[in-house]
């Protein structure tokens, strides 16, 4: 019995032994299947993940090309800046460390959240940039507390700087961090997060030349992020340096001179000024955007610096020697972390400092347009040098009456004297005879009505109207009255200061349709412009008129002659109404500009070239609401031309 049981149990145990053996074999099979799945079926996926572990591709941002003025003075460069980085692997508590950092340096909550987010997606050994552009003070404060900040380190990066600051703001434009929209257009920007892109000005227009090409380093890294060896190393290629045509010496003078207008500057530090400032919100807004010029006007009021535009160009090469748009702003504000406060101040400022008035500001040319009308009439054969008209102070046309700016009229006028005295009636007469279409054709040939092609973005074309334009935009036919208004550069006619400078340059040049450029050119590069094809005799007559403006006994700007030392200048004034003058006002006598609110005063324009013999430079000046072209704009243009010739010479 016992023996039987014994045998029974032996059998059970043997069976169990076989079951265990079977279990062992099948479990091994299970493991083998699992390994097959990982190592054969899924191997390509895991190989990819392994490569991503093993290799770290670091993009080396290129050094952005610099900008120089024509005398190789730095206009835009790259400065080393310090940035704060954190390695989550070594930071005991990332969140706490960030909070502590926020008490030492400026570190908004949003940025902290961003860093925490990045830390979740990146390997923990990877450095994350916490703050760039640390100030010296912040650096010092961090250095003292570095013992309390495990995992925190410093790194160097390049930051764009504009050593001339606001002076060249509308030429250089600025670089600022890459935006999401730019990345959508150009994916290569995404991997270069430290590299800003040009947003306006030359920085934007020459972005491709300035940017350069990023380098690429493929590094084998271990699990703690330590580089083991560099597998491939493509160095970055720096962007091209550009030499601009601008002369900083002239630019500095032009900016100061334009903004002063016809008034005197006041000492900002004086008690009287400080007291006035405290009460005047408009002045405070000006100082807040960095414009530190305050003027005392003719009524003994403290007013902000004038706004407007001044541009000087070489009439042979087209090189722009100086380009000022006021008010200005400091482009350095944009390169690092633009503070909301600064952005609001710039963007909401009533005088729009961010607008480049030279190429994007539209102004009625006023009487500076009279050269166009005169040339059109001369070339059409409507008038000759001796054709005369009588100005009695107004011109009737149908039921309308068009006034001359001088109430009593100018008497007998020819084209030269009409330019000299800026007689409106004379130009009404010849415009009616010439017709708007021929006037428009001449305007376009002189560079109006189309972008000049200077190397700046967002350039406006302006408006030079004709029948078709009126029909297309207003839906009604052109009337002779509109030709009358257009003949003195008002009504629909709109131009930019850049266009007016080009117009003047072409009149002075006489043979080439010179076009402006912001790049410095070699001496013999002037020949590649198209011929102007305007009769030299007609141009000579117009130039004589412009000469008379300064040198005639009744010239509108004869008080503001350019000294003979500089060869003298020829030019044309323009005073542009920004408000229609009603009959009642006219009868009461026009209120003097200075007694009107600023925004209702006339724009003051002046275009000129110098020297008179063998001209070399053309200038256009617009002083917004500056009063009259002769008293405000002409002296500004004269002084800038004097400085230009003094700095650059005429040969």
């Amino acid at each position: 019995m016992r023996r039987g049981k014994e045998k029974d149990l032996r059998r059970v145990m043997s069976r169990r032994g076989f079951i265990l053996a079977g279990a062992t074999v099948s479990m091994t099979g299970f493991l083998a299947a699992r390994l097959y799945y990982l190592q054969v079926a899924q191997t390509s996926r895991y190989r990819r993940l392994s490569d991503r572990n093993q290799f770290d591709v670091r993009v080396v941002p290129p050094v952005r090309g610099r900008l120089f003025d024509r005398k190789m003075r730095l206009v835009a460069g790259n400065a080393e800046s310090f940035e704060l980085r954190i390695t989550p692997l070594y930071a005991d508590n990332l969140q706490e460390t960030l909070k502590l950092l926020a008490t030492i340096v400026d570190l908004p909550e949003l940025r902290q959240a961003y860093v925490l987010d990045m830390a979740k997606t990146l390997p923990s050994f990877r450095e994350i940039m916490v703050r760039d552009d640390l100030s010296q003070r912040e650096l010092a404060r961090l250095a003292v507390r570095s013992a309390l900040l495990p995992g925190v380190s410093f790194g160097k990066s390049l930051r764009r700087i504009y050593p001339q600051g606001a002076l060249t703001c509308h030429i250089t434009g600025y670089v600022s961090p890459v935006t999401q929209r730019e990345i959508e257009k150009d994916e290569t920007l995404e991997i270069m997060p430290t590299l800003g892109t040009g947003k306006t000005g030359v920085e934007l227009v020459f972005e491709r030349n300035l940017r350069g090409f990023p380098g690429r380093e493929k590094i084998e890294v271990n699990a703690t992020g330590r580089p083991i060896k560099v597998l491939s190393d493509v160095p970055s290629a720096a962007g091209n340096d550009l030499r601009l045509s601008i002369d900083i010496g002239v630019q500095l003078h032009a900016a100061e001179r334009l903004r002063r207008g016809r008034w005197d500057t006041v000492e900002l530090g004086s008690h009287e000024v400080q007291a006035a400032l405290a009460q005047d919100a408009e002045l405070q807004a000006h100082l807040a955007v960095g414009d530190n010029m305050i003027l005392r006007d003719g009524n003994d009021r403290l007013v902000p610096a004038e706004s407007g535009a001044a541009v000087v160009m070489d009439i042979h090469s087209g090189e722009v020697i100086s380009l000022v748009s006021a008010p200005m702003f400091d482009p350095n504000l944009f390169t690092g972390r633009l503070l909301n406060r600064d952005w609001r101040r710039l963007n909401e400022h009533p005088r729009r400092p961010l607008l480049n008035r030279v190429t994007s500001g539209l102004y009625a040319p006023g009487s500076t347009f009279k050269m166009v009308v005169g040339l059109a009439a001369l070339e059409a054969g409507v008038i000759s040098e001796n054709t005369e008209f009588f100005c009695k102070g107004e011109r009737e046309l149908g039921t309308s009456v068009f006034h001359c700016w001088r109430k009593g009229g100018h008497g007998v006028m020819n084209i030269v004297s009409a330019l000299e005295q800026s007689c409106d009636v004379y130009f009404y007469e010849i415009a009616l005879k010439t017709g708007i279409q021929k006037i428009r054709d001449m305007a376009l040939r002189l560079g109006l009505g189309a972008a000049t092609g200077v190397n700046l973005p967002d350039e406006k074309s302006g408006i030079i109207p004709n029948h078709e334009w009126k029909l297309a935009t207003k839906g009604s036919v052109w009337t002779p009255g509109e030709t009358v208004v257009a003949s003195i550069g008002q009504g629909y006619v709109l131009t930019t200061p850049m266009q007016l400078a080009v117009m003047t340059a072409r009149i002075a040049n006489g043979s080439k349709a010179v076009a402006p450029s912001l790049l410095s050119k070699s001496a013999d590069a002037s020949s590649d412009f198209a011929p102007l094809n305007i009769s030299e005799s007609a141009l000579a007559i117009i130039r004589r008129g412009m000469f008379k403006v300064l040198h005639g006994a009744a010239g509108t700007a004869n008080k503001y002659k350019l000294s003979k030392d500089y060869g003298g200048m020829a030019g044309k004034t323009g005073t542009v109404q920004v408000r229609r003058i009603s009959l009642a006002q006219r009868e009461k006598g026009i209120v003097k500009n200075i007694d009107r609110p600023w925004a209702e005063r006339d724009h003051a324009l002046f275009v000129a070239y110098a020297p008179i013999k063998n001209p070399r430079y053309a200038i256009s000046v617009v002083v917004e609401h500056g009063g009259s072209g002769s008293s405000t704009a002409a002296p500004v243009a004269r002084d800038i031309l004097a400085k230009t010739i003094a700095e650059r010479g005429v040969t």
Binding site: M13, R34, N53
Partner: protein
């Protein structure tokens, strides 16, 4: 028994298999230290040689001494485990004990003690009572006490091995199927209770296992990196000393628990399957001994040791390939670690002793 007769009866194939595994281990450890015998590979090989010496010495020891000492060994092991909980060496983890400058993990000898004690217990039970549950209750206690003590250390991996090894002896002893079914149900019921007993880090390991991507850089890191290393190894591997995951330290614990992964990265599926085949051969060889010996004590001991060895391999490989949570189970004879290797060789020594001194033909 004469010396020659004993030497003739030594299961040389088992020794060769184990030495092969030790050699593979030494090679892997040589690679783990970036191509150096220091600090692991050299010592590993020396320990292997020492282990074989232990087996050869034990071949001359009569297995009856083990039978006699088995209960005492279990009681001693339990006493040490209790002592460890009281005076443990680490603040939270009490696994190591240090005697005269030599550190070892007392949970390792406890594994063998449990199997021997269970084998002796069932050996002593009358045949006709093997169908009743009463017989199995003391055995369950013999498993449960050390199991709970090791779990409290806390060392989930070793505790699991004690449990699986002990239960396989119960099963081999002829635990009726109805109780086997009952035990499975009981285990399922006990799961939540066990879960509440786990430490936070153990829970997080299990949770991470269930969803490793939830914590890529934290607890899930090990599993993900191990799978990447295995998977990127492919069919033939990246080559000796060429495993980027291992050589660049992405792979954690590559000299201990994750050594199988490292071999998989450098030698591919082929290398891994070769190792699995060696383990299968070793386990089955030990299991085969249970068919050749006379006493139930001998049979059960061999079955228990065979299964314990195999469970180690299974849990380790399943763990590194992402099929089980990271519980901490070394790969026998390949992972670096003196106590665990010595335990395996003592187990093999016991098998050898039993085969030589308790063969059926005698």
């Amino acid at each position: 028994m004469s010396l020659w007769r004993t030497l003739f009866r030594i299961p040389w194939h088992i020794i060769v298999l184990s030495l092969l595994l030790v050699a593979i281990g030494a090679m892997a450890l040589y690679s783990a230290s970036e191509g150096s015998w220091q600090p692991w590979a050299g010592r590993h090989a020396m320990r292997g040689a020492f282990g074989v010496g232990v087996v050869l010495v034990m071949a001359f020891v009569d297995f009856k001494i083990l039978h006699r000492l088995s209960y005492f060994m279990l009681i001693a092991a339990i006493a040490v485990l209790v002592a460890l909980l009281v005076i443990g060496s680490g603040p939270n983890v009490a696994r190591w004990i240090s005697i005269g400058g030599v550190s070892f993990q007392p949970s390792e000898p406890a594994k063998i003690a449990i199997i021997l004690a269970l084998a002796r217990y069932f050996d002593s039970q009358p045949q006709d009572r093997m169908q009743s549950l009463i017989v199995y209750l003391p055995a369950i206690g013999m498993i449960a006490i050390p199991f709970l003590l090791v779990m409290k250390q806390p060392d989930l991996g070793t505790a699991l091995m004690l449990l699986l090894g002990g239960l396989s002896v119960l099963f081999a002893a002829g635990l009726p199927w109805r109780y086997v079914g009952g035990a499975v149900i009981a285990a399922l019921v006990a799961m939540p209770v066990l879960w509440s007993q786990l430490h936070a880090y153990q829970k997080s390991r299990v949770m991470t296992f269930l969803n490793p991507e939830s914590d890529v850089l934290g607890a899930g890191y090990q599993i993900i990196q191990s799978k990447i290393a295995l998977g990127s190894g492919g069919l033939f591997g990246k080559g000796f000393l060429m495993g980027s995951q291992s050589q660049l330290n992405y792979l954690p614990e590559k000299q201990t628990d994750f050594v199988f992964t490292m071999i998989g990265e450098e030698f591919g599926l082929v290398g891994n399957l070769f190792i699995l085949a060696l383990y299968l051969a070793l386990s089955l060889s030990i299991l085969r001994v249970s068919f050749l010996v006379r006493s139930r004590f001998s049979q059960l001991t061999c079955m228990g040791l065979s299964m314990m060895l195999f469970f180690y391999v299974f849990v380790n490989v399943a763990m590194v390939s992402g099929m089980l949570p990271v519980v901490g189970a070394p790969l026998p004879l390949i992972s670096y670690g003196g106590t665990s290797m010595l335990t395996v060789f003592i187990g093999l020594g016991i098998v050898t002793s039993i085969l030589i001194h308790d063969r059926q033909e005698d």
